[in-house]
Amino acid sequence: MTEQSEMIPTGDNRMLDEVHSDRKITWLEKALGTENYRIVKGLLKTPASVVGFILILIFVLIAIFAPVIMPPVDKDPYKMPRDGYSGEPKAPGAVWTRKVPDVPFWYEPLTGKTEMTHVLGTTQGQYDILYGIVWGTRTAFKTGLLVVAVTVTVGVVLGSIAAYYGGWVDNIIMRITDIFMTLPYIMMALIFSAVLTPILGRSLWPPLIAMISFGWMGYARVIRSDILSIKERDFVLAAKVSGVKKNRILFKHVLPNAIFPTLVLASLGIGDVVLGFAALSFLGIGTDVGYADWGQILSFARNWITNLDRYWYIVVFPGLTLTLFVMGWNLVGDAMRDILDPRMRGKS
């Protein structure tokens, strides 16, 4: 036997007492995955995001219970009821005479009156503002969720293809993304909406399609860069060495670990989409006059610029609603971003 080296590892094969955690894993953690569980816990701890959640919850409730809160008058509940056709807006508290809805359950206890009034006033053309706000919540959710869902899907698909196949495929997809990103969002949404309206008619669809067409790029970029970095991680290489097929690696290893920043963007995105849609409505693109949509109501204010101090309620009520809605999503999204940022991790 030749000379042994100076450092002789112990021949003892017993496993030393290594530390491992006895932490209980709840069913929720198993269901969500550890990363996501940590995020949810973090969100529930941050006061800002709790406020955000509450706001969102309030809006969800309003949307769900819209028919009960402000019973519809017309066959199409999204048509705001008009109390006459006069051009002069009525102040909050004015009596509601024509096309009066059934008195909702909360009305009498809250206001002490038995006859229906315009609680928040009317716009020119006598559209009831409260009605518009309540049913506009449904519009906001409909449009926001739809646009975000589609843009995220499109963006993720394109970004994943670009990242995973690389080469010229990547190049082409990224150039296209660059070109789309050069164009100003609102202007392009406006323009495309205007182009589509003669073809599709005046409805929600032109602005929705327009917003989708120009809203996917951010997601494509983010998912692509995340996939590129995850692709090189050891556990992905290990899966390859273990003989896992390429497609399965993408779906089981790469995407689940890469998707989270994208989801953060998406949650913030709902707020932005609703803002954008309201802006388009405000400019007169998209929904018909009288459709229950916050931007639509606000567009009436354009006619009364010189007298806005008198007709303040046309601006303040829908504006406040819109702001609170967006703020709810932004609070949650911001908190999520803080939690996901690895540099902030030490702080919680």
Partner: protein
């Protein structure tokens, strides 16, 4: 040397170059020559240690062998099948024989998967077992690496570094491979744990008849586990010999310098041995020095070393060196070509 002379893995003139693009149209202006002509054989049942400084190309070699990197040139024969020439699916099938253990126990396990899923994945990938049979096999594997099988429903972050490395080892054993490339498997672990893991490696090798390529930069640990050792510098192998031979009789100046740098706890011995100090920094692998690559840092270099690369020749039985300046100890005679074993 080994009883079993069957050559399991033969690497022939392996080159892995990573191109560098510059300029307006992104033409290739050069390449990082991470691995620049490496050849060796590994016999069944043996452990070949591969050592060298950071950046010498040893990890790239290991990954190229497992086809995680596509070799720029050369051949890698596994039982006479050239892996480089294989297309994607045949290579995937070959992976049942060739596995890899990674260096970083924190990065090599998918944080969202349970231990069971991680260890079972190779079996699932080839459809080798399902359901209860799969679970049983996972338990068996965890047992082999001395982890409590009841932990299989936990997530990686609940384990220590050493335990995670064991999970990685269990995963690599799932397909009953013949050959495992171990890429610095203990470098990221605490010293006390390193010893356990190395022992585990040895026991597994004995019990399962495994062949290892053991990549590391800790020379003393490599000495313990390897049968033969290859020393790499700047993309090439400069010396290859039996384990004991290389530690007692290093012939290449680089090996000599590396060994002389190993800390020795015995003060007497420390004072007695001569310390060889290398000058300068490691040159860039984009532009290795002409002639002998080591000449810019070699204490023995002279003009002869600028002329061309030395041959990688068998100077003593089983002992290969690439150097012009080999000095044999007096009592040994150089092997001439006719006397080649």
């Amino acid at each position: 040397m080994h009883n079993n002379d069957e050559v399991l893995v033969r690497v022939e003139d392996l080159k892995v170059h990573f191109p560098i693009y510059r300029g307006v149209i992104r033409r290739q202006v050069g390449a990082v020559k991470a691995v620049d002509g490496v050849s060796f054989e590994i016999h069944k049942g043996e452990t070949l240690g591969l050592v060298g400084e950071s950046g010498c190309g040893k990890t790239t070699t290991g990954r190229a062998i497992v086809q995680l990197y596509k070799p720029t040139a050369g051949h890698i024969y596994f039982r006479d099948i050239d892996l480089v020439a294989l297309k994607e699916e045949p290579m995937r099938l070959m992976r049942q024989n060739i596995q890899m253990i990674f260096q970083d126990p924190y990065a090599s396990l998918n944080p969202r998967m349970t231990v069971r899923d991680i260890v079972a994945e190779p079996l699932v990938a080839f459809g080798l077992a399902t359901g209860k049979e799969l679970d049983d096999r996972v338990r068996e594997l965890l047992d082999l690496v001395r982890l409590d099988p009841d932990f299989m429903h936990r997530f990686p972050h609940e384990f220590s570094g050493g335990q995670r490395q064991r999970i990685g080892i269990a995963r690599s054993l799932a397909l009953n491979p013949d050959f495992i490339v171990c890429d610095e498997p203990i470098s990221a672990l605490d010293v006390s744990i390193q010893a356990q893991i190395v022992n585990l490696f040895e026991d597994l090798q004995k019990d399962l008849d495994l062949t290892y390529l053991f990549i590391a930069h800790d020379l003393s640990m490599v000495r313990h586990i390897s049968n033969r050792v290859a020393v790499m510098y700047l993309g090439i192998i400069v010396e290859l010999a039996d384990r004991n031979e290389i530690y007692e009789n290093p012939l290449h100046p680089y090996t000599q310098a590396l060994l002389s740098a190993i800390p020795v706890p015995d003060p007497e011995h420390y004072r007695k041995r001569s310390r060889i100090v290398m000058e300068g920094d490691v040159p860039s692998p984009v532009n290795p020095p002409s002639g002998c690559r080591f000449r810019t840092r070699c204490p023995k270099a002279d003009q002869e070393c600028e002329k061309g690369r030395p041959d990688f020749r068998e100077v003593l039985p089983g002992h290969f060196v690439e150097c012009f300046k080999v000095e044999l100890p007096a009592h040994l005679k150089e092997v001439t070509t006719e006397e080649n074993r």
